[in-house]
């Protein structure tokens, strides 16, 4: 029987699942993912995680708990950095340790990905992680290449307008209709977790809007836009948020933007100021912040989103 390794369907799952699945599969491990977020997962996460922590990390705890009886190993890489001169989020740096502190967990695999130290170093770290599963460097290399290829295909699909959920489930997005386009700004793990976002994307589409999300823009566009800030941001995923919002503010390709952020999100608390100031400029499309936490009620969210869409439609006519 092969060794099973669990990947929680939360946080960076939405960014790198194809890479991880391809790589771990290539090493001969059987990858098991947790189900999509549901109430039981959320409740378990809220119960296990520290009160002060942000919602997506609480959700992550819930997914880990739903996997823990089902797998031999848990894959919780320490994704320190995915590019030079930038970090991810402090919480991703401490994630494996936080999960271990819960106690009574399967072994946690926590390879380090730190591109600040250069891609040579990353290759070395990848290899030293993988060598417990195979003695053949070539096999590691093939597995990694396989993952990287999968990841490339994944990103290309996202850039063509598919959401992560659609790519990973193989279901094409519904035909775009309507003459209103809404940009949804925010972390993929909030926007695309349908339970957490209360189906925001589907809901907007149902109201007759075309939807684009931050992760559908190519990295270089986002990077160039984000670098208009006087000081380069040191969080990669915040660059994606700022970059996509700035791009849409300038390009005129969206009629309005919804900025979904989780309560107590550290980086977003600062970014929000910069975005809202930029959105105040003449001619910029409207930006509506939508703060979510575990107390958020569906009714409140629906009302706000409906009002926003109605207002945009009214303005367009």
């Amino acid at each position: 029987m092969s060794i099973t390794v669990g990947i929680p369907q939360a946080l960076l799952y939405y960014k790198y699942y194809p890479l991880w699945e391809g790589f771990l599969g290539g090493l001969g491990l059987e990858v098991v993912t947790s189900p999509a977020t549901n109430r039981r997962i959320l409740t378990a996460g809220v119960e296990a995680a520290d009160n002060e922590i942000c919602l997506p990390v609480k959700v992550f705890y819930g997914h880990v708990l739903s996997l823990k009886e089902k797998v031999d190993l848990l894959f919780i890489p320490r994704v320190v950095s995915v590019e030079e001169d930038a970090y991810t989020c402090p919480k991703f740096l401490g994630l494996p340790d936080m999960i271990r502190a819960v106690g009574d967990m399967p072994e946690v695999l926590d390879p380090i990905f730190n591109f600040r130290l250069g891609s040579r170093r990353v290759s070395r770290d990848v290899y030293s992680f993988a060598k417990r599963f195979t003695k053949h460097p070539a096999k590691v290399w093939r597995a990694w290449r396989h993952g990287v290829d999968e990841q490339r295909r994944y990103v290309a699909k996202l850039e063509s307008g598919w959401t992560p959920v659609e790519v990973l489930s193989g279901k094409a997005p519904p035909e775009a209709k309507g003459d209103m386009t809404i940009g949804v700004v925010g972390h993929p793990y909030n926007i695309h977790d349908e339970y957490v976002s209360m189906n925001l994307v589907k809901r907007l589409r149902k109201m007759g809007a075309r939807v684009v999300t931050s992760d559908m823009l190519p990295h270089r566009v986002v990077e160039a836009e984000a670098n208009r800030l006087p000081k380069k941001l040191f969080w990669t995923y915040e660059k994606e948020i700022v970059g996509s919002a700035f791009y849409w503010m300038r390009s005129g390709t969206v009629d309005g933007m919804i900025y979904m952020l989780s309560f107590a999100c550290g980086p977003d608390s600062l970014i929000q100021v910069l975005l809202e100031q930029e959105a105040k400029r003449e001619g910029a499309p409207a930006l509506m912040p939508l703060v979510i936490d575990e107390h958020s009620g569906e009714a409140g969210l629906v009302t706000r989103v409906e009002a926003f869409v109605d207002m945009l439609a009214w303005r367009l006519n």
Binding site: Y87, A101, A264, G266, L274
Partner: protein
């Protein structure tokens, strides 16, 4: 162009000298008060951390008082602190203030930028003059911290309540007034330490030994921590603290004041948090492990609500507490925190520590 900067504990004593040496006039922000906090709250994003909110308040009050050049530290992440200055500039611009902001980024962002910034702060001064002034500033900063460290340790033993605080204020005054010269600073340090050591002590009094860990601003700025260290000292607690201002400013010096090197901290934290997470996250865990291993009665963690690094540490500390059998009190502070609630928790925590101590002594006696 009067220069200003936000409050951070005793830092201003040194910065006043440094800015004067740079040939610049300065205006200190008015002392932290309820108004400072209110201004900060009104103009800051809701779930930014408390230090950002209060330092915004400092800047507004200093601008009102006539300052026009704001000095702020920067950083390379991943803690939010490194981006404060950018957000503060945006907020203050939006409020319509006319000012220049000088952000002192760490050398890790490039030596050229670092040197250029220093030259902007001290126009017309040579690099040699600047370097000399900075060296002196560290000398004075460490003298101040050395005094503070003794105060934290020995306040619990004072015979007359308040005597240590009085001596401490006098000592800070001596250091504040000392000329910005090597010998003068060294002399002032001796005199200041003498004042603190001179406080009459009851050395036989049983006291609790507590370690204080957490986010640096909350630890160093008495306004936001409700002067918790003084309260603890008066309640018979001898304190070791994880962070001092001069240690925090010079990460390369291996914590001369605190006395525990970066290497030791990392090694101690490793079984629980095996990577830095920005801010003081790893240091909070590492210090807790070290204090626990040295027979401290308890550890208190202080940090602002939504602080990322220390929230990570808080998630991990219960495991440290279980492994070492040491009580840890994590206090999360935000603008709604009241002194009364804080004191009630502390009183109960001290009761808990005393009864553990008594039980242990009873056990020792019965063996």
């Amino acid at each position: 162009m009067p220069v200003t900067w936000p409050h951070l504990g005793n830092l201003e004593i040194v910065l006043k000298d440094l800015i004067t040496a740079a040939g610049q006039p300065y205006i200190l922000p008015p002392k932290n008060t309820a108004r400072t906090l209110q201004l900060g709250l009104r103009h800051s994003p809701e779930f930014a951390c408390l230090p950002l909110k209060i330092t915004i308040g400092n800047f507004i009050e200093a601008l009102e008082a006539g300052a026009d050049t704001l000095i702020m530290a920067g950083g390379i992440g991943p803690c939010r602190f490194g981006y404060y200055a950018q957000v503060q500039r945006a907020i203050l611009n939006d409020l319509g203030y006319d000012f220049e902001m000088i952000v002192l980024e760490p050398p890790a962002m490039g030596w050229k930028l670092f040197v250029d910034t220093l030259k902007r702060i001290a126009p017309g001064k040579s690099l040699w003059e600047i370097a000399k002034a900075i060296k002196l500033a560290f000398r004075k900063g460490r003298a101040i911290d050395a005094v503070e460290r003794e105060v934290l340790k020995y306040r619990a033993y004072e015979r007359k309540k308040g005597a240590t605080t009085k001596a401490y204020r006098a000592a800070l005054n001596v250091l504040d007034e000392a000329l910005f010269e090597k010998d003068a600073i060294d002399e002032a340090k001796e005199e200041a330490l003498g004042l603190v050591y001179g406080v009459e002590k009851d050395v036989d009094r049983p006291v609790l030994k507590m370690g204080i860990v957490g986010e640096f601003y909350l630890l160093l700025e008495p306004f936001v921590n409700f002067d918790v260290e003084e309260y603890l000292g008066h309640s018979g607690v001898s304190i070791e603290r994880s962070v001092y201002v001069s240690d925090w400013i010079s990460p390369g010096n291996n914590n001369i004041i605190g006395g525990i090197s970066e290497e030791e901290i990392k090694r101690a934290a490793a079984p629980y948090l095996n990577h830095f997470v920005g801010g003081e996250g790893q240091a909070t865990v590492g210090h807790t492990v070290i204090y626990a291993g040295h027979g401290f009665d308890g550890v208190m963690q202080l940090f602002p609500f939504t602080c990322m690094p220390d929230t990570i540490a808080k998630s991990i500390l219960p495991r440290v507490g279980r492994d070492f059998d040491i009580p840890i009190l994590s206090l999360v502070i935000d603008e709604q925190t009241g002194k009364a609630g804080l004191i009630t928790r502390l009183e109960a925590f001290l009761d808990l520590l005393w009864s553990r101590r008594m039980q242990r002594e009873k056990r020792l006696l019965s063996v």
